[in-house]
Symmetry: C2
Subunit: 361 residues, 2 copies
């Protein structure tokens, strides 16, 4: 049986070599004779798994000692609450840019914990772009500015600079972290669920400048959700999601072995360019996103004749192309082409789309 090509937006396709390695090493972690799941998290092997994964991530992201990486439970959704629970104070507002479904959820969650303002939004254009930097209105005393740098559902991605933002910048990078070189030093706190580009669900990365916590709150915040406590305990305030961290570690190892971010960025740009080109040059498909904000990772598209949607999905499935249905809130189709999707996979999709258009006329 040929392995299907899985365009799911997340949980998403994993690199096949990672799955084979998991399979091979599942019963014997580092020659201990038992599984990674069976070790105490206080065992030196697991402590090293965590510290080495942090080091590897910082190397891949180009970050130094000013930053720490935490491996936390609860997904990016818990970070929507955890960020303001830790950072927001009663007297200074946080400024949120809303550019799609996920940043809308983020601002809604934050408003429970303190003053929040919307610095800019592209709601009026149905989130087909991210508001330009010069339109953002950031209060002078802003505690932080929050941005979702890639909106998975709308397929819009941030390629601009934030170097001129005075307040600390917090970003949800769940669906494009490590997909290309990014100016990570412009960010003070970045979070990302692992199940899109980095591994499997159950663990969320929080990458933060430790100096950000000097003004951190803790009243009423469960110890497990306090960044400071997690930093002091190297992400082990309690038993962490070891298995998910192991999968993450294997994905990062695979990424480095393939050539790291430069390799994957080159591949991702070729994939996205080919797919957008095929859409733009078709008579059937259309992508509504502003050219400058088109995501390299999530490519939504609609069929000009929506009555063909069901047949498109059925034939795609038969051809081994899985999970192309768009999110119900925007309709149509979506191809998520994360790091684990190859140029060849995208070529197969494009061939299928052309053949479908040809035979559906």
């Amino acid at each position: 049986m040929t392995r299907p090509i899985n365009f799911c937006s997340g949980p998403a396709a994993l690199p096949e070599p990672v799955l084979h390695r998991m399979q091979a090493e599942l019963l014997d972690f580092q020659r201990s004779g038992i599984s990674v799941m069976e070790h105490s998290h206080r065992d030196h092997r697991i402590v090293e798994l965590f510290s080495e994964t942090e080091i590897r991530l910082k190397r891949l992201l180009g970050l130094g000692d000013a930053y720490r990486v935490l491996f936390l439970p609860g997904g990016a959704t818990l970070q929507f609450s955890q960020v303001p629970m830790n950072l927001l104070s009663p007297n200074r507002p946080a400024a949120y840019v809303t550019s799609g479904t996920w940043s809308e959820k983020a601002i809604k969650a934050a408003s429970q914990y303190g003053p929040v303002v919307e610095a800019a939004t592209s709601r009026d254009s149905k989130f087909t772009k991210i508001p330009d930097r010069q339109t953002w209105v950031i209060p002078e005393d802003a505690q932080y500015v929050h941005l979702c740098t890639n909106e998975t559902i709308q397929g819009v991605e941030w390629f601009g600079s934030l170097a001129d933002v005075a307040a600390p910048v917090v970003a949800d990078m769940s669906s494009h972290i490590l997909s290309r070189a990014m100016p990570m030093h412009e960010f003070d706190l970045v979070y990302a669920g692992a199940q899109k580009n980095l591994g499997t669900s159950g663990v969320t990365l929080v990458i933060l400048k430790t100096e950000l916590l000097e003004s951190a709150q803790s009243d009423g915040v469960p110890g497990l959700l306090q960044y400071r406590q997690q930093i002091e305990n190297d992400s082990m305030v309690n038993t962490p999601p070891v298995l998910s961290v192991w999968v993450l570690a294997l994905v990062l190892d695979w990424l480095e072995s393939m050539g790291g971010v430069p390799w994957v960025e080159a591949q991702n740009r070729v994939k996205a360019q080919a797919l957008y080109h095929a859409i733009d040059h078709s008579g059937l498909y259309r992508n509504p996103v502003a050219i400058e904000n088109r995501s390299l990772m999530n490519v939504p598209f609609v069929l000009q004749d929506p009555s063909l949607d069901a047949r498109f999905l059925l034939q795609a499935e038969s051809a081994g192309l899985m999970n192309l249905k768009g999110h119900r809130s925007v309709g149509g189709m979506r191809a998520s082409i994360y790091n684990a999707i190859s140029e060849q996979d995208v070529a197969v999709l494009i061939d299928f789309m052309r053949e479908f258009e040809r035979t559906s006329g």
Copy 2:
């Protein structure tokens, strides 16, 4: 290489057949051609994995429609906060029985969220027992009573009845859930991290009577941490820890295939009896716990001559007996003999202990 016998208190040994099945099915979940990790959590296969696991758990626990089972992130430690965040009100106290390290953490966390009283404690006896029911002082208007029914570190277990407690009963069963038949209907909310007796870390069971939530709080509680929202969304308020739930499902399937709770209880009683008998009839080893509270799952013991500790651990490791070191707070040794540890495994441990005593005189 012989597989070592792993007496770790958690994360703990898994049944070897579960590991082999994971390995066999890792790349192809239910003939979909892709891994369980690669499916959307909205895919019918994953939705069914969750609903079938809930059904199986309720069957194994003997629970009906009054209860729901949730699969949540954050470990039992997050439940220490989440229980009072959801259930505690400003005007009615919660009553906690403190019988060891974990229940001490639970009451400390709860006291952040509202009035809390200690109904009873065995602190004076160094937590070598659980306070008798008749000594508990429960306020008449108690919102709930909290008990840790098996203290992993001290090795004390609750075998009494709670049928006469008027207030709702909340229990931390992390380290002995599904180890024997228990009067589950005496409990209104039970939580348990999976990494001891049920699977791997990353998922925590919360089993609760839905009527308990009629007075539930939600102000300032992140949506993800609201039991009511998780019930309404069948544990999928956001992307849940699918891989850990799959491991849990495989462990439950193994347990049922072996004969369920009656089978495992019989085995667990034989194992514990043999080990305590060996300790009590030795000249070298001693277990300090009151007979009526000796845990079937966690058996701490000290060597009369602590200078032998290091040699004991070294020789045990050489003999393929892993993780026998006791928790630093109590010292000595601890053998955790969860469901995945067989009678034969315990027999090997007892043989080793006897041989060590014979050669260390």
